[in-house]
């Protein structure tokens, strides 16, 4: 994947897995990552949300240390995307999502359960406070 690419490949199976994760965690926000190489997602990893309440997510930092310094180097893979859910709001980054988007090389995926029968996922690049939607390809 070229950094800053306007497209991101999200296979249907991974999209379904994110929606399934979001539904299982509801009313809490779910979170996880997609790792892979270049434009090729390898797998999705569900992560633990250690934030309190139902309006925030924070991936367990202990899992992040393992991901960044053990799993990714050992398998020569990259962090491609970070996902979380919005249980009751639209799939667009909140002010806090934007402020805390430290991993600007990754695509931020948001799964909305606002319309519970019609969940959907959108992807964004968030860099220096600006948000650009990326087209999700299956």
């Amino acid at each position: 994947m070229t950094s800053g690419a306007a497209e991101f490949t999200l296979p249907e199976g991974m999209k379904s897995a994110i929606i399934d994760h979001a539904r299982r965690e509801h009313p809490r926000e779910c979170c996880g990552v997609i790792i892979g190489k270049g434009a090729h997602p390898n797998r999705i990893l569900e992560m633990k949300n250690v934030a309190e309440g139902n309006r925030f997510y924070e991936i367990d930092p202990t899992q992040l240390i393992e991901l960044e310094f053990e799993i990714l180097p050992a398998e020569d893979l990259e962090l491609l995307a970070i996902y979380h859910s919005h249980p009751e709001s639209v799939a667009f980054p909140s002010a806090t999502d934007i402020e805390l988007a430290f991993w600007s090389e990754a695509v931020y995926l948001i799964c909305s359960l606002e319309m519970s029968q019609h969940p959907y996922v959108r992807g964004f690049r968030i860099r220096d406070g600006s948000v650009d939607e990326v087209t999700l390809l299956s």
Partner: protein, 103 residues
């Protein structure tokens, strides 16, 4: 001359722009505070990303020593020894701001 008191500091991808792309660097010090100070001396701009104006580790940055979060140890005063491995990791986090409309 190699510094036999040095510790390895693991630098996460988003902060490697400050370390010329290096994923691991060697720094010496007695505790986490001195390690972070010396990181900033050696790699200008990095310290600001790790500590707030009061000198504390930023809320959404975590520092680990040998796999343990220093927030569960002695924070900035956590002792380090030669050979220890120090990992720095920015949070992956977000949420709805208090009082904001759902967005």
């Amino acid at each position: 001359m190699p510094d036999d008191k040095a510790m390895t500091v693991l630098i996460p991808t988003p902060l490697r722009r400050y370390t010329n792309g290096q994923a691991r660097v060697s720094v010496s010090g007695d505790n986490v505070a001195t390690i972070l100070e010396r990181l900033d001396t050696e790699f200008p701009g990095l310290g600001e990303r790790l500590r707030d104006d009061g000198g504390q580790i930023r809320r959404f940055v975590n520092v680990f020593v040998n796999g343990k979060n220093v927030r569960d140890l002695d924070g900035l005063e956590t002792k380090v020894s030669p050979g220890d491995e120090i990992g720095i990791i920015p949070a992956m986090a977000g949420g709805l701001s208090a009082g904001s409309p759902q967005s």
